[in-house]
């Protein structure tokens, strides 16, 4: 399910369902975003975690999703900047990091990050069994192996693969172009 405008206000009230959606929709993406500044995955996760936990009882959040996203990305960027400054640390990965002051570069990174995030959400919107099988297909498992692993019949796997193919073609069109080679 997608985190939407209506969930923003619920964060302030400590609504756990709203938080679950927030984590589901944004945690990984923002963590990946923070790593652009040269932080490790672990450090980035801490920064995103701190940002998220502070949303509870924060009654000054923007009420539309676009402004809220902007708020999240800005908060993560600023916290990353502070972290690097305060720790006066060497970046974990010197070769890949953004100039924190370069707004254009950050614009590009956010576009890319958002695109991946939305595409990932689409996968997660597949019915659970469909998704599970789909992910295994992506790994290169054969229908026989998947059937064996999941304790299902080969027929069921084939049906699910057809269903996934149909769903993805109808709903997600070109996003999963390459998928058709698998299904």
């Amino acid at each position: 399910m997608k985190f939407s405008d209506v969930h923003i206000g619920k964060l302030s009230k400590g609504d756990k369902r709203a938080f679950l959606l927030l984590y589901d929709n944004y945690f990984a993406s923002l963590t990946i975003f923070a790593q652009n500044f040269g932080l490790s995955q672990y450090e980035s996760e801490d920064i995103v975690q701190e940002t998220f936990c502070r949303l509870n009882s924060n009654y000054n959040l923007p009420d539309n999703l676009s402004a809220f996203k902007s708020y999240l990305y800005t908060a993560v960027r600023n916290k990353s900047l502070n972290y690097i400054r305060d720790e006066k640390r060497r970046r974990t990965n010197d070769s890949v990091f953004l100039d924190l002051q370069d707004d254009l570069l950050i614009f590009d990174k956010i576009v890319e990050n958002e695109l991946y995030r939305q595409m990932h959400l689409l996968v997660n919107e597949l019915p659970p069994q469909c998704r599970n099988i789909f992910q295994r297909v992506l790994k290169g498992d054969s229908s026989e192996k998947i059937a064996n692993d999941l304790n299902l019949s080969v027929e069921t796997i084939k049906t699910q693969r057809k269903k996934a193919k149909k769903l993805l073609r109808e709903k997600y069109s070109l996003v999963y172009r390459s998928l058709y080679t698998f299904l």
Partner: protein, 381 residues
């Protein structure tokens, strides 16, 4: 020219990839793309290069928010509990001043938010009075209104008063202030004494003869009515403080090394064993066994408790919590002994919740507190 947010561009590119883009949207996207080489480069990279489902899955592999989500839920629960306590506190204690606290640690300060539950409450006005015949009377704000203890002995709000009392032979009363208590006493000569938590004062109901002598255990602030014919004496063990008329604070807890006298105004003389000293305003004496030292101090630090505050200046955590444990009636223990040696400076309104104070200390990221009932455990941050 419209300024696009990165979110709008991402939506447009996604729609384009999905073949669900409308004519208008496509015109917008193309217009944006043609604005700069940079935009075009991004457009091509995200649209024309084949980002397949596999690439998406790989990007998100190894990210698991489960643990973080659960931690966050715990924090939410804690803050909800605190909020409900806050509401009760406000409802119940509407007249009690809002807690204000600021703490500065010398080196650095952090930002972590900490919240805790507590059974630990600030002290209240309460005491036990033992009359000369041994009868015990409980004094405290539970009595709400004024109370006449006996003849000319009465309680008005937080003050026990002796007025126009005359007795033929010396009769002593004793007032005992428990941990988490405080009380004010106005003696028959007009002398006013603020007694802090875990203290005891024995005094005559009326003063006769050529001296006014009282016996103190613990901590008290004295505002002595001037009477040159009859010096006022405070006795603690073998330590005698003689005054004519003055304001001073004495701290003489049996579990502390020093008997400390701090003079705000007037003049006092101190006799301890064979040592003798006279204090001038702003001076403090510290007596330990037969050693006595006198120094200049900021008297505020030692008398602020009378004015609803605790002030600490570069004091060890051990000293700070020891002092506060009397007022908040709490127990403190340390994971590591040396945690108690960390020094802090700051002040605390004495009617504020102890958790506010501990949270402020925690933000300095030196120590962490866990509260369990009336126990506070100190561990490394």
């Amino acid at each position: 020219m419209k300024d696009y947010t990165p979110f709008e561009i991402a939506e447009l590119i996604l729609a384009k990839r999905n073949n669900s883009i409308t004519g208008g949207e496509e015109r917008n996207l193309n217009e944006w793309k043609n604005r700069s080489d940079r935009n075009e480069l991004l457009y091509k990279r995200l649209l024309e290069e084949n980002i397949d489902a596999d690439a998406v899955e790989r990007r998100f592999e190894g990210y698991d928010y489960d643990k973080y989500y659960k931690d966050c839920c715990k924090k939410i629960d804690k803050s909800k509990r605190i909020k409900s306590i806050e509401i009760l506190k406000w409802a119940a204690l509407i007249l009690i001043p809002v807690a204000v606290l600021s703490l500065v640690y010398f080196r650095d300060s952090g930002t972590k938010v900490y919240q805790a539950m507590a059974d630990i409450r600030p002290g209240t006005s309460n005491a036990v009075l033992i009359l000369s015949d041994g009868e015990k009377v409980t004094l405290g704000d539970k009595n709400a209104g004024d109370l006449i203890v006996k003849d000319n002995i009465k309680v008005e709000s937080d003050t026990l008063k002796y007025e126009n009392v005359t007795t033929e032979k010396i009769a002593f009363n004793t007032i005992i202030i428990p941990r988490g208590g405080e009380f004010v006493l106005k003696l028959s000569d007009g002398t006013k004494i603020w007694l802090n938590a875990e203290s005891e004062l024995k005094y005559p109901v009326s003063f006769t003869g050529n001296e006014r002598k009282v016996y103190l255990k613990g901590e008290g602030f004295f505002e002595v009515t001037k009477n040159e014919k009859s010096p006022f004496k405070v006795v603690t063990n073998d330590h005698v403080i003689s005054v004519l008329g003055t304001e001073f604070s004495i701290r003489a807890y049996s579990d502390e090394k020093y008997i400390t006298t701090t003079l705000e105004s007037g003049k006092v003389s101190i006799d301890a064993g064979n040592r003798h000293a006279e204090l001038h305003p702003g001076q403090q004496s510290n007596v330990s066994n037969s050693e006595m030292t006198v120094k200049e101090v900021n008297t505020q630090l030692y008398t602020a408790w009378r004015n609803n505050k605790y002030v600490f200046d570069n004091q060890s955590l051990r000293e700070i919590l020891h002092t506060l444990s009397r007022w908040y009636d709490m127990e403190v223990d340390y994971d590591q002994y040396n945690l108690g040696d960390i020094r802090f400076t700051g002040e605390l309104m004495k009617y504020s919740n102890i958790t506010d104070f501990l949270e402020k200390l925690e933000t300095l990221e030196k120590v962490r507190f866990d509260i369990n009932g009336k126990k506070v455990r100190v561990s490394p941050y």
